[in-house]
């Protein structure tokens, strides 16, 4: 598959429609990737993702875990000389990746997000103990930080009971509406 063919996904147009961002503005200077804290761990760095997006190479983007390694620190967008917003583009790519295949994200990172949002949905606030335990169960990392456990409790840093907000029905409705993929017109 050549790099220059395939407009079939028209990924760039979809991104433009959702965010207003014109990925053709990226002139590949590399400043974003130069300042990205996760650059050395990503196979596809921010400027690579911009380039692939502008050439509609959806499979190459979604076939790699790089978009999930983004820390959302916004350094790339803050420094882009041509006024691009790679952070926003990468946010959108993650949403699109989930719309294509909700289970396709790196295990641990995905487990964290899933567990976090489950907490918010069920309680309105994050019950951190629940988050940690849920994360451990999903990832099988049962013994990580196990030794720190007692110290955390001794310092009173982890509540044993979740706090549930009164507006919990509102939470449920918000989640229902927002999780509906059709609602979000992602292609």
């Amino acid at each position: 598959m050549t790099h220059t063919e395939s407009k079939k996904d028209n990924l760039s147009a979809a991104i433009r429609g959702l965010t207003g961002e014109n990925v053709a503005r990226c002139y590949q200077c590399g400043k974003c990737s130069a300042g990205c804290p996760m650059s050395q761990e990503m196979k596809l760095k921010p400027h690579d993702l911009m380039r692939l997006a502008s050439f509609d190479q959806a499979d190459r983007i979604f076939g790699d875990e790089s978009i999930w390694l983004c820390l959302t620190c916004e350094t790339c967008s803050a420094r882009c000389p041509n006024g691009c917003d790679p952070a926003r583009v990468i946010d959108t790519l993650r949403e699109m990746a989930l719309a294509r295949d909700p289970s396709r994200w790196p295990r641990a990172i995905g487990a964290f997000h899933a567990e976090f949002l489950k907490q918010v949905k069920n309680h309105g606030r994050v019950f951190e103990l629940g988050l940690i335990l849920g994360f451990k169960l999903r990832t099988g990392r049962l013994f990580d930080d196990a030794l720190s456990g007692p110290g955390v409790f001794a310092r009173g840093k982890l509540a044993l009971q979740p706090h549930r907000i009164s507006g919990i029905d509102e939470m449920r409705k918000i989640f229902e509406k927002c999780e509906n993929v059709e609602n979000r017109d992602l292609s």
């Binding site: 590949q28 974003c32 130069a34 400027h47 420094r79 000389p81 041509n82």
Partner: protein, 686 residues
């Protein structure tokens, strides 16, 4: 009684393909007032023009209408033809049946109708034309050049060598501009001052150049051929007549700590100083802000402080009490050649639309400098006698890194344009560095290499292939202080990996922007400028050295970033325009200017308010006893561009454009009713 001749041109196939020219000629022959109506294949040719001349002689024509192409093409041609036959050229007009008809329609019947109509309008207009004479205004055949850098110097020499006088105004104490600060120039690596100073001296000594240094333009009045310019000659606190440039005062001055502007702050100077040894004129200036005597006076000291310069001067040339003087010069043309300054690496910017580079330290990291500072380091006459040394500790940097596109091509910081020269001078800098610091390593972070001039690509390749400069394609995210060194966080897009390097010195290749105060100057001159402050040319392709203000020209980097050869070319081009303007004793202008009817004018001056060119003056109508009767508007024929805005605005219909009176325009509109014989059947009189 009108006897108009109508000539319908086929223009080969251009018109005849769509318009039935013979039919148009035939129909127009029926129009009252038309005495002669023919068609012909090429009216602009010699035989075509001969037809017109013949008809004027034989038929006693009082006016001529040529239905053909656009007047922009051939109005001059046909007017010259009728002049040759003894008719006032303003009785000849064109109806555009090509660009306005045959080139934009396909239906032959309708196009022929339209062509007939268009020609009939112009016939009605010409019936009401008056004989107009060109306006002649006198010209003061002297030029003013604002800015004494290489462009200003070149323009001045060209005009002066063309036997016309030049007044050259330069705001710094010496002419020479930024070129005098450079060490060597690309692509030849010529020593900049060596090639510049002979020109500077020539300028100073030229009998037809009046040089006003340490001076600025205060105000400009008037119009092309007749400008009155007031120039502020700032006080040097030195009597220029008496000073012989011996430099004794400078030796005697106790203050040696003021930052040296010429050395971009890297060196120091005295309070009484000459900016650099080769300065022209070689007359010092006293910087009143740092001079002990003046500071004492400002604080109200009872006794005079210091004055060592006065004591040392053998010619009595120190003149503490000399103040600024305003002088007046009359000139006929002005060339703007104010050059550029560099975009600041600090937080403060000359233009409020620009942002600084916080990620590069806002200029606070020591040994992070800009291009002009590097030039001063590399210059043999600079603060380090030509050695590349770190400003912080005077050590030689073994690792030097250049960052291109600082400010340029960076809309996030406020600048979209490319500064054109940076790729070239960075290549030059890497070469100068290599020649001076053996064993040193130069690295350049770039986005593109723009080396479009003659010998430029070869030059930039030499830096890489022969002088070992390492070019990395990618930008730098941030600079950090790391002990004595600077850490550079960049990216290599060609290799696909982040690059973190240490440097002993970092040079930022900053954008070329217009001088501070350019907008004020431009407003004084009534010339327009763009959002960055660059002076606007009249037409980007075909009129690059003129502005939209008649008589004012532009040369050099004040119009857009450019290098020395281009600035010199532009300066000579502007000089040629000026000399062309001065080739006649009087300036001839088209008479299509506005004229005020003093009887009708009520003196409301709405016209003055709307005139885009400032061409309306006030005129006092007085009786023989010199009593003021009324003040009316008067149009300055030298400035009026014939736009007609005043005519449209005037509530009392007192001002009209010659050749475009209300009567004429309405006559054209009314001619819409006449559609001619034998047309599509939709016509007939309405």
């Amino acid at each position: 009684m009108s006897r108009i001749g109508v000539f319908v041109c086929h223009c080969g196939e251009n018109i005849a393909r769509t318009v039935d020219c013979a039919a148009v000629a035939k129909r127009l022959a029926e129009l009252p007032g038309v005495a002669h109506s023919v068609d012909y294949k090429y009216m602009c040719s010699d035989p075509g023009q001969a037809l017109i001349k013949q008809a004027i002689a034989e038929k006693g024509l009082t006016g001529v209408v040529v239905a053909a192409c656009s007047p922009h093409m051939h109005e001059k041609t046909f007017r010259r033809a009728v002049s040759g036959a003894g008719m006032n050229p303003h009785f000849c007009e064109m109806a555009n049946i090509r660009e306005h008809c045959s080139w934009i329609h396909e239906d032959r019947v309708k196009a022929t109708d339209k062509a007939t109509q268009l020609a009939s309008f112009i016939v009605e207009k010409v019936k009401r034309n008056r004989p107009l004479q060109p306006i002649h205004i006198p010209i003061e055949r002297r030029a003013l050049v604002i800015g004494g850098g290489i462009a200003g110097i070149q323009a001045s020499l060209d005009i002066a060598d063309g036997n016309r006088e030049v007044v050259l105004v330069e705001k710094e104490p010496s002419i020479g501009g930024h070129m005098s600060q450079l060490s060597e120039t690309f692509p030849t690596l010529d020593c900049s001052q060596c090639i510049l100073t002979p020109r500077m001296v020539e300028t100073y000594q030229h009998e037809r150049i009046r040089l006003h240094t340490y001076s600025e333009v205060e105000s400009v009045e008037g119009y092309i051929g007749n400008f009155t310019v007031r120039i502020r000659k700032k006080s040097r606190s030195i009597d220029e007549e008496k000073c012989n440039g011996c430099g004794a005062c400078i030796q005697a001055c106790p203050n040696r700590k003021s930052p040296n502007e010429f050395d971009t702050g890297l060196g120091k100077r005295t309070s009484v100083y000459v900016p650099f040894p080769q300065a022209v004129p070689n007359i010092p200036v006293i910087d009143r802000a740092s001079c002990l005597f003046f500071r004492g006076r400002a604080k109200g000291a009872k006794k005079d402080v210091c004055k060592k310069c006065e004591a040392a001067c053998g010619k009595g040339a120190i003149a503490f009490d000399r103040e600024d003087r305003i002088i007046e010069e009359k000139v006929g043309a002005i060339i703007i050649a104010t050059g550029y300054q560099l975009y600041s690496i600090g937080k403060e910017q000359a233009n409020s639309a620009f942002k600084g580079y916080g990620e590069y330290g806002y200029g606070t990291i020591p040994d992070v400098i800009d291009g002009l500072q590097f030039e001063r380091l590399a210059s043999a006459s600079g603060p380090t006698a030509g050695k590349i040394l770190r400003p912080s500790d005077g050590k030689e940097p073994k690792r030097i890194i250049f960052l291109q596109c600082i400010g340029s091509r960076d809309p996030a910081k406020g600048i979209q344009f490319c500064s054109k020269i940076c790729c070239m001078y960075v290549a030059k800098h890497t070469m100068l560095y290599k020649h001076k610091v053996h064993g040193g390593q130069a690295t350049v972070f770039f986005m593109d290499i723009r080396a479009a001039g003659k010998g430029y690509d070869e030059f930039s390749r030499r830096a890489i292939e022969e002088d070992g400069a390492r070019y990395i394609r990618g930008r730098v995210s941030k600079l950090e202080r790391d002990g004595e060194a600077i850490k550079v966080y960049g990216y290599d897009t060609l290799n696909g990996a982040p690059v973190v390097m240490d440097a002993d010195m970092v040079v930022l290749a900053t954008a070329m922007v217009p001088q501070t105060g350019i907008s004020t100057l431009a407003q004084k001159l009534s010339v327009s400028y763009d959002r960055y402050g660059f002076i606007n040319e009249a037409h980007p392709k075909l009129r690059p050295v003129e502005t939209n203000t008649a008589g004012i020209f532009v040369a050099g980097a004040c119009q857009a970033p450019r290098d020395i050869p281009d600035s010199v070319s532009m300066a000579s081009a502007a000089a040629a325009k000026v000399l062309g303007l001065f080739s006649n004793e009087k300036l001839e202008r088209e008479p299509s200017v506005a004229v005020v009817n003093r009887e009708l004018c009520t003196g409301c001056f709405h016209c003055q308010r709307v005139c885009p060119y400032g061409a309306i003056d006030r005129f006092e109508v007085k009786d023989r006893k010199d009593t003021l009767l009324k003040t009316v508007a008067e149009v300055n024929k030298g400035i009026c561009q014939g736009c007609g805005t005043c005519q449209a605005t005037c509530p009392s219909k007192s001002v009209e454009l010659e050749g475009f009176t209300d009567e004429q325009v309405f006559a054209e509109i009314n001619a819409l009713e006449w559609t001619g014989q034998g047309n599509s059947g939709e016509g007939g009189r309405r």
